[in-house]
């Protein structure tokens, strides 16, 4: 499948829309007066770039740091160090008002459509809120825009005055997407955006995201733990393990010949739909690789920390 612009590559002719350089986020936990505080390296020297119009997958298991990475890019969590270039400018150096404006172009869709929407607000108001915050348009213009957004994400504009609990999980996620799209962003960070949904609903929401990618020329950072899903919708993918990217490359190349021991263990654990397919689990031996090894080229458009 060729979603995303195959030609747009980090280091290619066009500059990437988003480039993360040596991003670090440490969480320090104090452990009383006399003991050394413990440091969790949630994101540990991460670098990657996403081309315009690309659907870039960031995969890993719980605790790998993938969600923290997404939040650091938007500065919902302040990174400890590093650079995040968006359209060539380092957003980590932006002042607060400047960052607020920048967020128009970078939006996030969260995993849980049950807790990420304010239960006391009507769906239409939820979608309109970003327009009010950024003081865009008159009330009538905003209402028109909200109705258009409802239409765009496949929601019935007659349901504008309903509350979140009156919608199903899939519809709620559509509200979350409509809200993220309200300001016409260029980049959507989808943080496990479809993980909580039933498969049939998940497929519908994924289809919507793919359609919007083409129609609105959106770029996605698709954060997920579902490798099967990422394999089928992302053009490139990075695998995270304990705060580091251990492997990154073209989805097809990476899935065809996983090189890092962690990627191999992870892929071998994914359940297969064919009950007769040979199953060979590769257990992960954390001592079998060097955690500090840098990424190096192992194939065409394919890097691994081996």
């Amino acid at each position: 499948m060729t979603h995303g612009l195959e030609s747009t590559r980090a280091g290619g002719l066009t500059p990437p829309l988003l480039e993360v350089r040596r991003l670090v986020k440490y969480f320090v936990r104090k452990r009383g007066l006399w003991r050394q505080p413990s440091v969790v390296k949630a994101v540990d020297d991460l670098s990657f770039a996403i081309g315009e119009g690309e659907m870039f997958g960031l995969v890993g298991e719980s605790g790998s740091g993938k969600s923290t990475t997404g939040r650091c890019i938007l500065r919902l969590v302040e990174p400890s160090s590093g650079e995040v270039f968006f359209r060539g400018e380092d957003v980590l150096r932006f002042s607060r008002p400047r960052m607020r404006r920048a967020r128009r172009d970078m939006q996030i869709v969260f995993q849980d459509p049950y807790s990420s929407l304010n239960p006391r607000m009507r769906a239409g108001d939820i979608v309109e809120e970003p327009l009010i915050i950024h003081e865009l348009g008159s009330r009538a213009e905003r209402r028109g825009r909200v109705a258009d957004l409802f239409d765009l994400v496949g929601l019935d504009p007659d349901h504008l005055t309903r509350y979140p609990h009156e919608f199903s999980g899939g519809q709620r996620q559509r509200i979350g997407i409509a809200r993220a799209l309200a300001l016409n962003p260029a980049l959507i960070i989808a943080d496990e955006a479809v993980s909580a949904l039933d498969v049939s609903i998940q497929a519908q929401v994924v289809r919507l995201m793919l359609e919007l990618q083409v129609r609105l020329k959106l770029t996605y950072l698709f954060i997920a733990h579902d490798l099967r899903l990422v394999e089928h919708i992302c053009s490139r993918v990075a695998v995270m393990y304990l705060g580091k990217i251990v492997e990154m490359g073209d989805t097809r190349a990476l899935f065809a010949s996983p090189t890092h021991p962690y990627t191999r263990a992870l892929l071998s654990a994914v359940p297969m739909l064919d009950p007769d397919a040979p199953r060979q689990r590769i257990p992960l031996d954390p001592d079998s690789f060097d955690r500090e090894a840098p990424l190096k080229e192992v194939g065409v458009a394919h890097l691994a920390a081996v």
Binding site: M1, S200, A203, D226, I233
Partner: protein
Amino acid sequence: MAEPLLNVQHLSVAFEGTRSTVTAVDDVSFQIAPGETLGLVGESGSGKSVTAFAILRLLQPPGRVTAGRVMFEGRDLLALPEHDMRRIRGARISLIFQEPMTALDPVMRVGDQIAEALTVHGRTGARQRAVELLSAVHIPDAERRIRDYPHQLSGGMRQRAMIAIALACHPALVIADEPTTALDVTIQAQVLDLLRELRTQFNLALLLITHDFGVIAEIADRVAVMYRGTLVEQGPVRQILRAPAHDYTRSLLAAVPGAGISSLAP
């Protein structure tokens, strides 16, 4: 098929409200042979968990079994006095839940929780048996681990501890309700391997409730597909996965990433 261990016949469950009644399970019939694994698949709200709760008679009002029989080892569970049912629950049929952190008692040591399952059912030597069970589910250093509280265990270890509790009294049937859904994929693979191993070792029958066809393909012998309270299709796992007969099963399979999502491309 040999004499089934569990024979659910025409089971119906309704939730009665003040104004309307919702039929959550509608005339559901299936059998599980000794040592067999039946996968019960469906999406949220399809009635699969309600079916499990009805079998164990754990339904809370307003939920109520309105029709059917649940034959287990020659007796109709739905007609048993509660006293007898208690000797079956946890002993002959046990239950594994999705979320081990909420299913385990947070302020009780893991070993004591396993021992509790044993002493409730009148077994002696509970502590030693708890160690054996934790070893059987491959928790390393079981002697020491029985003194841990649930929060000291990782998610995968907690699920193993819950499996150990479920196995404590040598049940003939284990009902596992989304046992791996909350786990990372590498941990899920380990837990599925463990269930597969224990199934052979103890000749366990397994009713595996899941929304994930991948998990079904990994472990089930037969599959029953549930949609809006009814079983729309059941059969051997290969037949259902390769040649699903019902439209709903087909659409469900097509929605599994990797199976048909490429056809979703705009």
